[in-house]
Symmetry: C2
Subunit: 406 residues, 2 copies
């Protein structure tokens, strides 16, 4: 008898028919003798509908009230799933984030879990009940409703698995697992059987949206093995995210990630003296512009170029902030390019095998793809390229590193 | 500076445009210097939509899960109203039933308020904030979500007014107040300027649905004056419900109430011995059949007829229960009639002036309306009549007692 925590995303509970199918799936699992806690997201379009209602009354709704509004979507799903389980003759109960003991800090819209009091949850499980938990939410010390941001139900599930010392956390979604590349642009992409936490984090933050990065972080921190698999295609094995190195990982490039909506800002001819980077990036941080990659070129005649990338939608805002900073920097020229994308190769141990970088650059060159900027981490190499060349780049790299072969 | 509790019903907050209009109304009130707490119901069709979702997954959803599901509707309204107030530059905050300190018993679907801890509410009001409370809900001692049943937001509002020692409670709705009869069937009906608690209770329980009876009970218990008025027609003065006798009440018939969906069950020739009523009505209560009026005729040759009325929808269920009881009663025949309605005259002090009953019966006779059953209370006389004659009866009685004249 295992203690398992599952999570079903919004597309898996989009309507009563789908909720009933998921209930069947949970019931089958309970009949194997496992004790099941299932976290549910809001039904399909609910989140978007609630956001639209908020926009109907306010241009800038307060973060606190948005959390109060949004957290109702997951509660609706939890109650309906519980009713569907009752209909199958199972003992089941829904718990809101608060009832499930999920305590957070008081940062609305992107609260972090401070701790989980599992007393109620464990007593319901001990009583033989399936527990359905409303995802994406908790309460602060002052009993204020908080949410974890989009995709936060993943975090709820992995954190509950950690708190319950559960054997593993199963994330059910509308894809068959974590792919070697985005199958929509790379037809040869295949689902990975397993992947390491850090690799998954790099994939998640550089484009593959199948899994919320914070959930992966929690998994890594508490050593919770995470299965990502299809809700309705039970024949697909899915991908296991864990901390161990497996045979499959001896091919060190595990996946190709990409981003399509990237912009670049370059400040030209900045006098190269200590403190200029701080002078540029502090105002950007204060203006809440999220900067991705930063590159400072070598200084020529005491002048240097500073380049950074941001999400395409942020580029106008970034430009405005930088323009105000130019006099203090002693620079006069700033140029932007909003028609860019990134392509990354991800895999543990690439840092110790520099040949991978050369192979990547050669592949892009062979396909006539110019590299505008390079950044690397221990387990990732990212190239900034023209947006329209991103799909070609993904397919070419997928071939080069033979990711279609298991 | 007065402390006022308002309540806005589902039709008053049915869409973002209406929510913004109500916010304007609240803002205008705040500018007069009053401190406002406003209770909101779920938006328009939300409650029905949630019920439909529940039916989509379960034929008999559990009461606990229905409460978890349903209470989200009021929370959505509360968050949206608060955002709309922020947009007008007001300090405002939403509170769920739990955050507003509303503690109930653990009876799902029709919980009763056990007490209200106003600490949080008073501190928000003291900080100069408008407080928007999600109606219709509370939490039990075990932090289980409970609801008060349809119309329960009225009860939230009046109970909060009592707990806050507020000057009065204002119930805003889509009608101009409490009418002397249902204006849909009696064109001469007019809004009453004021009415007593008990009269209002009789009107509410015998047909006029403008106000939730439990809310009136709470008002009577704590002496909270209740204004019922139109949300969007500010020129209409509305109706004040209170405990004092006013000049207007010297005309002792205040209103005509009616019900359209009434059924009657008669058990014929029951041996007249002690205990037969208990033998009949205990099984009905156990089967959760709500019995309205009960009449036992005088005994003839040791046999009596027992007649009771139920809601039309309950008549099949009632008949089934009674049939099983017949052998124990020593009776053999039961007859039902589901094509009935009631018409009532309501007014304080009628009991001490028996002429009213005679006037009522004469009026019905003059209009060719046969009376199938009569029941009375101190302030009400009710006649059971054929359903199709109910509208005629209401109009005739309205004329007889000159209710169109102020």
């Amino acid at each position: 008898m295992a203690l398992v925590v599952q999570k079903y995303g919004g597309s898996s509970v989009a309507d009563p028919a789908k909720i009933k199918r998921v209930a069947q799936r949970i019931a089958a699992r309970v009949r194997t003798g496992d004790r099941v806690t299932a976290v549910v997201s809001a039904m399909g379009d609910t989140t978007d509908n609630l956001i639209e209602l908020a926009r109907g009354v306010s241009e800038r709704p307060s973060a606190r009230e948005m959390d109060v509004l949004m957290h109702t979507g997951e509660i609706v799903s939890a109650a309906l799933m519980t009713m569907a389980l009752h209909e199958l003759g199972l003992e089941a109960i829904s718990l809101t984030g608060q009832q499930a003991g999920i305590r957070t800090d008081a940062v609305y819209r992107r609260a972090r879990i401070a701790g989980i009091d599992t007393t109620r949850l464990e007593s319901e499980l001990s009583a033989g009940r399936v527990v359905i938990v409303a995802g994406f939410q908790g309460v602060s010390e002052d009993l204020e409703v908080t949410t974890f941001g989009r995709g936060g139900s993943d975090t709820t599930a992995v954190a509950l698995a950690a708190a319950l010392h559960s054997d593993r956390c199963e994330i059910y979604t509308d894809v068959a697992g974590v792919y070697s590349a985005d199958p929509r642009i790379c037809p040869k992409a295949r689902p990975l059987r397993d992947i390491g936490y850090e690799e998954m984090l790099e994939l998640a933050t550089t484009g593959a949206v199948v899994m919320h990065p914070r959930a992966v972080e929690v998994g890594a921190l508490y050593g919770v093995e995470i299965l990502v698999a299809s809700t309705f295609d039970e024949s697909a094995p899915g991908t296991v995210i864990h901390g161990e190195t497996t045979m499959e990982q001896t091919n060190k490039v595990r996946g190709i990630a990409h981003q399509m909506q990237v912009g670049k800002v370059t400040v030209r001819a900045v006098p190269d003296r200590p403190g200029i980077a701080a002078q540029l990036f502090e105002p950007l941080a204060a203006a809440n512009v999220s900067v991705d990659t930063i590159v400072q070129n070598a200084s020529v005649e005491g002048l240097t170029d500073l380049t950074f990338t941001v999400a395409k939608d942020d580029i106008d805002h970034a430009l405005e902030v930088v323009r105000n900073t130019l006099p203090a920097l002693g620079a006069t020229q700033v140029v932007t390019d909003s028609e860019l994308g990134t392509v990354s190769i991800v895999g543990t141990g690439m840092a110790s095998a520099p040949g991978y970088a050369a192979q990547m650059f050669r592949t892009l060159f062979d396909h006539g793809i110019n590299i505008e900027l390079i950044s690397t981490s221990d387990i990732r190499i990212t190239c900034l390229v023209r947006r329209e060349q991103v799909p070609d780049a993904v397919r070419a790299l997928h071939d080069t590193f033979a990711l279609d072969q298991t």
